[in-house]
């Protein structure tokens, strides 16, 4: 019964039925829209924070672009994989999901959010100096250089590139 209720609540979260909420960022915080430069490579490691209603998760997202395809993985700080993803420009598919994320509606919901994060500059979205808005999703890059995407009012993703030293 508990599992059933959990599935229902996750289903509601990922159905994206809520409206956009405020990102809590003042206009002064906003420098540019994500991605900062369409020509700039996504390749690299990112600090990732995911907030779904009251639950908060953190981890590392590593990705690389090869032609039209962006592939990557999301792991927690200990290196344990949450999921791999592959975005071919049309959609983002999740693979090798951790067991508790391996539900169709969760994969579809996160995949759809990830596609918006990765392709915000390519989709027919409403853009202005501060944000990109597409349906119930909005993305803003703040003064700390973090891309903050709010999706459906219930899910928030924060990405910041990590400077990696190859020593």
């Amino acid at each position: 019964m508990k599992r059933f209720l959990l599935s229902i609540s996750l289903c509601l979260i990922f159905s994206g039925c809520a409206t956009n909420g405020s990102l809590g960022l003042s206009e002064e915080d906003v420098l540019r829209v994500w991605p900062p430069d369409a020509a700039q490579s996504f390749d690299g490691q990112y600090r990732l924070y995911v907030s779904i209603q009251k639950a908060e998760l953190s981890g590392i997202c590593v990705m690389a672009r090869n032609g039209e395809t962006i592939r990557g993985t999301v792991v927690n700080e200990f290196g344990i994989k949450a999921f791999d993803f592959e975005d071919d420009g049309k959609r983002c598919k999740l693979k090798n999901c951790m067991s508790f994320l391996d539900r169709f509606f969760i994969r579809r919901g996160i995949g759809s959010d990830m596609h918006f994060l990765l392709r915000a500059d390519e989709i027919r979205a409403k853009r202005d100096a501060n944000s990109i808005t597409h349906g119930k999703r909005i993305i803003i890059v703040n003064a700390e250089g973090e891309a903050v995407a709010e999706c459906g009012g219930t899910r928030r993703y924060t990405l910041k590139k990590i400077a990696v030293n190859d020593d």
Partner: protein, 209 residues
């Protein structure tokens, strides 16, 4: 051609010999040595390097940090580069500190964190080699290492790892490295460096509240 086949056969023979599991008696003896070394560890501090191979990208992620352990179950696992993250465990309490927030969790009510905490502690002090409740355990002898391969039998752990390997030094029977193998093919290897055993550690660094 014959020479090449001989070389391949010899190489294969060496590999097969190197990965031969220990006999029951040898395993028992190794377990006792590890248990004795584990029992002697009151505190441990070291640097660690974590390397994660990402199969989908054919790349390696490296992170580094410091680890502090004090018996019974006090642990500070602190990533310092390229990101900041601290996993602090004191008894049943776990505190997680990252760049944005800190969060305290009771492992009694969170099975996944309990499993992660147990794996870390058992990896640090070697106590995991006797955990036959959650793992099927095999001992292997390599050149300079004694390897304990732990195959999860517990459902939660099975969903996370296909196997865990603890590599022990044959000098002092303490853990040198831990390998976490995932079913997707990714492997995370954590190597302990500059180990300091039974040197005083300020208990304040384990404070959860």
């Amino acid at each position: 051609m014959k020479k090449l086949l001989t070389i391949i056969a010899l190489f294969a023979g060496i590999c097969a010999f190197a990965q031969q599991p220990m006999s029951e008696a040898e395993s028992k003896a190794a377990e006792q040595k590890i248990a004795a070394a584990s029992a002697a560890i009151k505190t441990l501090s070291c640097d660690f390097e974590q390397q994660k191979n990402v199969s989908i990208l054919s790349s390696v992620m490296t992170s580094k940090g410091k680890l502090y352990y004090s018996r019974e179950a006090r642990l500070r696992w602190q990533y310092q580069s390229p990101y900041s993250y601290t996993f602090l465990m004191n008894g049943d309490k776990v505190k997680i500190i990252n760049e944005k927030s800190s969060n305290t969790i009771d492992t009694k009510s969170n099975r996944m964190f309990k499993s992660i905490s147990q794996i870390i502690v058992s990896g640090v002090n070697g106590s995991g080699v006797t955990n036959t409740r959650d793992f099927a355990i095999k001992f292997f002898n390599y050149d300079s290492h004694l390897t304990v391969e732990m195959i999860p039998t517990d459902k939660t752990l099975k969903g996370m790892f296909s196997k865990i390997r603890l590599n022990f030094s044959t000098q002092d029977y303490t853990v040198d490295s831990v390998e976490l193998h995932e079913s997707s093919g990714d492997v995370t290897r954590i190597t302990m460096k500059n180990k300091q055993i039974n040197k005083p550690i300020d208990e304040k660094i384990f404070a959860v509240d």
